[in-house]
Symmetry: D2
Subunit: 470 residues, 4 copies
């Protein structure tokens, strides 16, 4: 059996490596030796003392780094229960100095001039920085320390669901990351088959849209008519933050299996006229809320336009992950406004009582119906219409309900074309009834689309899709 | 005549280059066209409008970057008066939202539980981030944008002396830089004669302790028995933030002219037993208040220890920049507590009424006295004693009065040896009466020294220096 | 099924890439268009004309490169028959100028002084350079042109078995390669999991000793307690010429399956005392006769000694690929001198008539006997003795008959220890009856061993092995 | 005074560095210790013995490298007399094996078939390789060993003028270098102000056409509207083999002082329409006879065309180094065929008896005449005509007499425009009477020009220049 690296594998191997490196920073006397991965009450006391020493920065930098490394090693040695205790100790006692905050608030309130007020506001802002943030920042000096904090936040956020005080830590780290991971500090790099294997195996593990099946599949996705770009942080080398996969083709692609078929001949990229963004994956759970996808796509468009002036069309080939769920709900509600009488009739004609009994959603989950040519033909137009309506009208909190649509529309793309049976994978049938969509990035329309979307919620769409939705 | 690059040259050339690059980001329609480098009232209105558009982030990233580039170009085109107006416009209107701050303060005050309070504090902290900071952050996406902001702060701080509202900008940028330039994000690099000339000319311009006289002088300082290390920020390539120059020698060096003599033979570094840190220079006025000198020295010690295990002694050869000024004051006050009767007698014997008339400081400013062997001999012991006393006892705000002493002592070094006529340059006579001092970094004493210094103000010193000071 | 890259895959993909790149050099008018991969008589005439134009270097460099690219593309488009014709055309007409050679020989014979003679010899040497060599050298200016020539020689050598004139080409290229691939021009690089995947897949394809089973197997061989080094030519990037795999362990390893077991814990390399060279593979058939294995092992020993001073022992864990074949012959001949009476008795006791009927070799080819504990025990000593005798006494053309022994002994290593059932793979049983051997590289004995081996054919061996062989 | 690095400085510093590095390879027992840099007869015997040991390759690679390093160190320690002795020892005894050569020649003569003959030729070729070459090749394994051999050849060639046997060594090394420095193995790199200072100082030392006056002058030549490219050998890093300096301008440049004026504003390279090659320098005396200038210019044209599609014209601005000398000869001979009656009259009118007395050449050597506006005006047309005639008709061994013309014409350029007072430097007046010439590289004419030049000696020239020459 082929074993492919998973996120868990990578983490585990990463941690094993970390432990080795961090050991070399000393601080190995380890006053805290948790039994079976859990902290005793006494351990927790010691831990709080250690946090306090870290904050006092006693003993200079070398000591500080050793202390951070020791804390990190301790954390890695704990089991879930132990880690919850560790984080709780940190969240509990190391916030702000209430008296200082109160005093600073009074100074703001009492400021006599606007200038004095703004100065007082700065003092207050500084008083509001929790001690925890300063402590966590010390990890940045360790190799892989930034990655450690990113993973720590992912874990804290998970624990916080049942341990509310940990939302504080989650928030502290989000605020730090917002400064550290500002898009201006990230580097876009092209990834290819010449990239380090240690980086490539992360693509395999992180790919979230169309799973990478093997190293051969990966190599095919990095061939000369393919492109892959990612953002990196200078302190997290070999660790993509987000990456996008692009196919260089002739004409718009409508089927992802064809696109990924390793048997297809390779196209000379100078002959391609279209770049298809067929997968974009965020990789770091710990960076939730820090967005850079928008920037990545636009920089890639920029880079490709310069490298290959023949490219005229930039488009995605995207899943419609919320379509099946929405359809189920809509049918349960009797498809009140979402479907024309004629479609209803067409569906009834095709499905008979399976339609009236609301069995369509279950039917669509599998692939059998698609192999029945007559049935597929009968369903085609009604489903395309429903899907167009879903994409153009279904909302959640005033924004497009489909998360992928929300992302690309807010970037300034338009809903351009629906692709019948564009994704015949199990996942494709389950989530999108086999449909896919192209979001088109028209260079001279992006800014206008983006503005109208933000201002009025206007959704850009091609005439073709708009007609289907009517 | 040899022309060597100065800081001003570099800035000017840098800006010329920037303008070219930034032009390529568009936004060239330039609604504001200042006449003669000054903003009219109408321009200022337009400028505020432009700032506001930036903050609304209308039109997506490409537009945003173009807008930042246009703002940056405008700034660079202004003269001092124009720039003051530009910064005033930014400082004036783009602070916090007072109502939001008030509401957030009330929420903090009214919080029912500690957890609720901490959550409310985070909201308040976010409300206190002035809009200016968000606007300034957009420059990071431009090439050299971070360097632009660093230089902008230097300028704002200068203007602020006569334009108090600009202290706000100075503070905003300091807070941003404290996050961005955390020492964990900096890279230490060794600099050598194989480094880019574009980097090396910056050493020439930035060297603050012993001026680099020529490219030959520089090459000599980068020869195989010399080391130079610097910290860099990933977004400011070729731009050292701080750098230290080290000589690898046998035995402690006591004379900086001998150390820098290009005619001296080169030592095989594997035969050196001592590393002399003879110059450490901060380079960026715009990073005042952000400290990393402490870290640099220790990392260099670490790196050198590993590369050259024969090195046993790590020491500085440092100027004593405040000695002459202190001596003048002390003599004006009659040298009350700082000198023994025997020294006073020795000085009187050597100088006659020149001493009693208080002419010693003027005499020491030049080099003539040092060339008079008899006079120099007579002055040696009293001056060394006075200097030891200066270093060990003279204070300013409870800390050592000498800035170089303050730096190294707070790092954990000890005052180890005074060097008679160790710096025979004009500057050396003028500031330090030709004396120099070695601060010793004893590896196993650094942390202890640092702690005692921070806790009790204790100054570590060798027996020899202590005896001189008694 | 896992597909792993094979040499053929790589070549094919390489060629496909080459064709693309070379097309961009023009020369595309392609006067020769072979039908079905074969050259007609007319094509062959045109080809000879093209060769001649190349040699006249008409039209400058750009034209020359285009011509070389066109020739290369033509070659790649041919099938085996076509290629044989192509190479024959080259070997046939483009040798030396006979008249010039004759004249130059006469000048050598008639030279009046030693100096004149040597000058005449140089002229003769130049006259003896076949035109073909100059023509082939033009390929070096193409991307991957050197690799193309290396592969061309491999093919020419293969064809030469049935087409004797191609040995000329084989020899021409060998002479060129001897100059180009002088070990002084090669770079040793360490290969790790951070190396490009495009390089790593070549290790998988080229590994000749213990096949790499999967990307996981490969990663395990590049973990922190493993090392891999290779030689590269500056004009053949990502193309290892020879590589060696090393395991860092405690104590001498005797079993290769244990060494490659992915489930084994990873050792901190600083705790290792022994480096085991367990695989060394030449990769380029076209470089036969150009040797650099000797250099590689010694540079690796050098590099490792410096990186990890704790390493005290450098040894191989090697197969004994000729043992089974030799044993079969020896038994067929009645084991005349190679075995003691006592061993013969032991074998007879253990095997009964299977021994007397000469069935031992067939028995040893499989693994069944090894799983029969009693049988294995009975065979152990006699087989070890036979193997020791094989390694220390069996000769072929006055040199050790075993090719691996020949290589390491000529490098100055000693036959150090035999390992019973050290290789339980099918190949291990088939070729070596499951035995393995450690060749020890004792730093202060290498030069002496090498000299005695070269001068007297002396084989260095440990007392233990020597005793077994007696 | 500004000190700029000279070739001698660089060599000396290089050697000092070499000695240090090579010492670390051992072989330090140094059986030969020359007194005062000279070899005694006994030393010479020992030296020959050492050479012989090297050739026998006794003791493996490490020993071999140590031995080469020891030989190299010995050579560097010798003075000129000593080095002559060293090289003579090498040239004298380490040629070919006469008996083997004789036997191989007989085999060639006696070969029965063409195939047998060619095989025998290969054997002869190998027999003709002098032992010296094998010995010298061992230096390639040392750091800087290739550079050492290149410099050794330069020295041997110099000594050979008075010591004929050293021409053998010169020839041996030329043959080795022809293989090693094949243009296919060289890398073209762009050099800029971001290049290592250690490389840039070599440009200062090696620039052979228009001396680089200072580091500022150098930086100006590497500004954004300038380009510098060089060829490098992979084993001689930071050591350019040949480099060319290019100015990006609008319209053809006719004056080199204007081109190099540091006060000139910098042009946006995207606005340039013309690339002026104003200096091309070979750097390694030891590579005489190995040519790559032709390739460099064409690759640069290629690179620039791609980077800056607006460039339409590629031209040199070149000195005419042989003009003054030719003119002196022509005048001494009475200007028989080279000048029209009308020019002769014009010159007489302008100069009176200074012309009839043949004083024109002396007059032109200085710059005074050029500052006399009337005189300059009167001389302009006759001198331009003479120069055109010189370039188009003056020959030496059937090729253009002017070496720069010879180089560019053989590359396929045309004589395009003469520039009156294009070089007002002392050298410019002395060698070229202040004139300069543009050789134009017209992309679609290069190959044709080259061919006609090689075949018929045809010189391509513009109508304008041709008219002047008529």
């Amino acid at each position: 059996m082929v074993t492919l690296p998973s996120t868990t594998d990578l983490l585990e191997r990463g941690l094993r490596g970390l432990l080795g490196t961090w050991r070399s920073f000393g601080g190995g006397e380890a006053t805290i030796q948790p039994r079976d991965g859990v902290l005793s009450a006494k351990d927790a006391d010691k831990l709080r003392k250690l946090f306090r020493e870290c904050l006092e920065e006693r003993g200079g930098e070398v000591t500080a780094r050793a202390r951070a490394a020791a804390l990190g090693r301790l954390y890695l040695d704990l089991n879930e229960e132990g880690r919850r205790g560790f984080l709780a100790a940190l969240a509990g006692d190391f916030g702000t100095d209430e008296a200082a905050v109160r005093k600073a608030m009074e100074a703001v309130q009492g400021a006599a001039t606007p200038l004095a007020r703004q100065k007082a506001e700065r003092v207050l802002r500084q008083a509001l920085a929790p001690a925890r943030q300063r402590l966590l920042t010390q990890f940045t000096a360790l190799p892989q320390g930034v990655k450690f904090l990113v993973d720590l936040r992912a874990e804290a956020a998970r624990f916080a669901k049942s341990q509310p005080e940990l939302t504080l830590l989650d928030g502290d780290l989000e605020d730090l990351f917002a400064a550290w991971f500002d898009v201006g500090f990230l580097e876009m790099q092209r990834i290819g088959w010449n990239s380090p294997a240690a980086l490539l195996e992360k693509l395999i593990a992180y790919e979230a849209v169309h799973a990478i099946e093997s190293w051969d599949d990966l190599r095919n996705r990095l061939d000369s008519d393919r492109r892959c770009y990612a953002f990196f942080h200078p302190r997290m080398p070999l660790e993509p933050l987000i990456f996008v996969e692009v196919a260089l083709v002739r004409g718009l692609s409508g089927n992802v299996q064809a696109l990924l078929d390793q048997a297809q001949p390779v196209l000379d990229p100078r002959e391609a006229d279209t770049a298809i963004f067929y997968s974009i994956s965020n990789t770091q759970a710990g960076l939730r809320g820090i967005s850079f996808g928008n920037f990545l796509i636009k920089r890639v468009v920029d880079d490709l336009s310069r490298e290959l002036p023949n490219l005229k069309t930039f488009s995605t080939l995207s899943p419609i992950p919320g379509f099946s769920a929405w359809l189920r709900e809509a049918i349960a509600e009797g498809l009140p406004n979402v479907v024309k009488a004629s479609d209803r009739e067409a569906l009834t004609a095709a499905l008979g009582e399976r339609f009236s009994k609301g069995m369509l959603p279950d039917l669509l989950k599998g692939s059998d119906w698609a192999e029945n040519a007559a049935l597929a033909k009968a369903l085609k137009l009604p489903l395309l219409r429903l899907c167009a309506r879903y994409l153009l009208t279904a909302k959640s909190r005033d924004k497009p309900r489909d998360p992928v649509a929300r992302f690309h529309l807010s970037n300034g793309a338009e809903v351009h074309r629906l692709n019948w049976l564009g994704d015949r994978s199990a996942k494709g049938f389950k989530e999108s009834a086999g449909l896919m969509v192209n979001y088109l990035y028209k260079l001279d329309a992006i800014d206008g689309n983006h503005e109208r979307f933000v201002r009025d919620g206007h959704i850009a769409a091609s005439g073709e899709v708009r007609k289907l939705a009517d």
